[in-house]
Assembly symmetry: C2
Homo-oligomer: 495 residues x 2
Amino acid sequence: MAKKGAKKTKLTKKEYEARVPILREQLIKLQVQLKSANFPVLLVIAGVEATGKGEVINTLNGWIDPRGVEVFAFHPPTDEERARPTMWRYWRCLTPRGRIGVYAGSWYTEALREASIPRTDPKLFRHALHRIEHFERLLVADGALVVKCWLHLSKADQGARLKKLAGHPRTAWRVTTGDWQSHRAYKRIDELGRTLRRETGRTGARWTVIDAADERTRNVAVTTTLLDAFAAHVKQQPRNVPQAKRRAITPLRPEGLKKLAALPLDQHLTAPAYEEKRDKWLGKLNRLVRQAAELQRSVVFVFEGWDAAGKGGAIRRLTSAIDARDCRVIPVAKPTDEEKAHHYLWRFWRHIPRDGTVTIYDRSWYGRVLVERLEGFAREDEWRRAYTELNDFEQQLTEHGTIVVKFWLHISKAEQLRRFRHREETEYKRHKINAEDWRNRRKWRQYEIAVGDMLLLTRHAHAPWHLVAAENKRHARLQVLKLSCHQIETALAET
Amino acid sequence: MAKKGAKKTKLTKKEYEARVPILREQLIKLQVQLKSANFPVLLVIAGVEATGKGEVINTLNGWIDPRGVEVFAFHPPTDEERARPTMWRYWRCLTPRGRIGVYAGSWYTEALREASIPRTDPKLFRHALHRIEHFERLLVADGALVVKCWLHLSKADQGARLKKLAGHPRTAWRVTTGDWQSHRAYKRIDELGRTLRRETGRTGARWTVIDAADERTRNVAVTTTLLDAFAAHVKQQPRNVPQAKRRAITPLRPEGLKKLAALPLDQHLTAPAYEEKRDKWLGKLNRLVRQAAELQRSVVFVFEGWDAAGKGGAIRRLTSAIDARDCRVIPVAKPTDEEKAHHYLWRFWRHIPRDGTVTIYDRSWYGRVLVERLEGFAREDEWRRAYTELNDFEQQLTEHGTIVVKFWLHISKAEQLRRFRHREETEYKRHKINAEDWRNRRKWRQYEIAVGDMLLLTRHAHAPWHLVAAENKRHARLQVLKLSCHQIETALAET
């Protein structure tokens, strides 16, 4: 436990006024330094009621250059937020590298509010905390500095402060009946706070408990905590960031490679046989997707596969069964500069579908353990960590009720060559092939290893991989339809 | 009027099957060409009920490469959308350059729905159409190809189609009581449609009326309309885009320059006098902003001014009066690549505050008629057009209830030099000055002209310019507070 004992010192006005200019100058220096740094700063200001979270943030905002800071407060979730996994609303306001995000209450507010309701299953609270812990660990692993201040008040101090606020006409509006309720439940809520800090203080995103009884002391303590944490973080940054190295790829799970090799690719299917079956499955898929929409379930399709394996064609058949008005296809190419300024999962989170709609990712977050692993865009510790991160990401989706359907479209190296040549020879297909495709092809064996590892390390009951033999396009398209139907049908039956 | 007469021809199945492969190939070609083009394509599919808007879009989606297309359907506005100006929800899903956005019903759906309610004031409909017309004109002027198809059905055909749909178990769910109501009100709604097309068909975003009685003919007609419009649009593109030229800047409104020169800059204010007044105005501003929030009004502050005129300092004093949790500062620097791929106003629309909150733009959309005019980032026709576009943008904000407070902070050239030197000499201010600032300074006279034009061409009762003498920082900061208070107070009193 990293919690510091809440200090009971009190600053005089004079001491305070002497400290403030120094703190302000240090804050500006911090901001200048941060601008060229490669990480974001997240400052979480949480705590019980009437500790002055808003005041601290306002004070800090007056000291700092407001152009480099964004403050996020969380009102009850909007309907757009409720229609997505819990953490979506926090992902959508993650601060980018080089900037400070100040989170009033942050992700802890909702977890605490829910847990405060009498007779709530304590398991739910643990679960919420676990999810938060994972979230912060993810950010920290990516280099983010997460500074968390817990503003503390004794029951007596809280009561005194509420009375003081309520007694003054200028501040009386700030005291709600909810505040008094939470004051009466002080002991219970204080206990929840302890649990919360214990469960979410281990990840390098530690809590600093700050006594908020005296406003000046509180303001200085929060600022000092931020400054100290920043200084320590900068010191920790490696002088020379170890360049990601491209080296020989060795399999983490050799069985993955075998699994891939064992897939028979010699299917045949005549055009009439295909068309008949296709229409049957398209009809079925259409019904299932509509049924899912009625139940406010969303569906996420993930298409991975070799270049020219037929992802585009398979997606086209799939979309023909789905109402285009409730379906988006997200082609995943190079990240934009806004995307690059965020955690690598941010660009996928931003497109997460609303309940009752469908999103198809044409290539996906698995790029992290495929192209980024191979090309050295991600360091070894980064892509190794990604397996867990990707599993957890998908678990959050499925927990919310999203059905995650994942495909790997598999072809032989010889078949790829045939298709590349065909693309080069066909005028309206020529745009689909470029030098990079040929380059990737030369790394076939390495990709195979990465794919094998991916298939084994990210298959889960909640989001299994469907390995599709795509040497025969008709067979592959039919398989995609069938497997989609099976998975959606099963998922709907389980609810 | 550009409306083509609705054709009554009917394609046989054989004819259709012969046409489809050709259309598909043309669509793919279109997409390949579009990828490297510098404009977006917006395809609007509107029309009365039961014309199969969804079917057309689904068909088209099956023909086209779904990776380059996004389909947008508009359900009733979400709470996040209702809390912002009407057009915000359309700006947020504008397709970027090089891609196709298909808009099911689009911005017309809501306008038509509102107008269909019996006894609705027809003025509201006209107003909505006027707003839409402006929106499309803006996009078209920026180079967008806007293709609008109006799917038409005679009353008899509509009735027959509804009956057919209702009679089949697989489609019966699609026919709602609303559809039958709108069928009974056919004449009125048809009349509304005519008005709509007449009022919004003049801007280079013309309507094509397509008879939807026969599904195959309808599908082909929509596709052909898109293909033809695209071909015509590409032809119209200038071979060599005229490079924006930097030339001698001459004033459009010489009085603007005089106004600027006439501003007295010799104010004095002692520190104690300032502090006393400041606290009074801060208190007042705090009350007014809270009052605005209670009334669900949002406030947008715009800060423009010379480099080193003290925008940052003024913003900091301002934010110190506002609850940081409901206030965002948007520093406007170079657009990101996502922003560059959109209309220049898109990056400002995306930050438009929710009702009851405050957004402060540190520099703003006025860059279009200042730096972009001067540096030739915008062509002459572009920045000239911008005055109207900016006025209209702000009018949309104020119509929604947003209070728009605009400042130009003015200093003399000599004072700027003093401040630049001071920045260079002060360690923690050095980051605030760079070569570009010195470059801009050499263009002082040209900027003056652009500023003068801006002040005169974009001042309006709904969003006046406040010209603030900023030679004395204390005076300027106080003025900003006072003027903000006055304007917010007046705006709140008017409601």
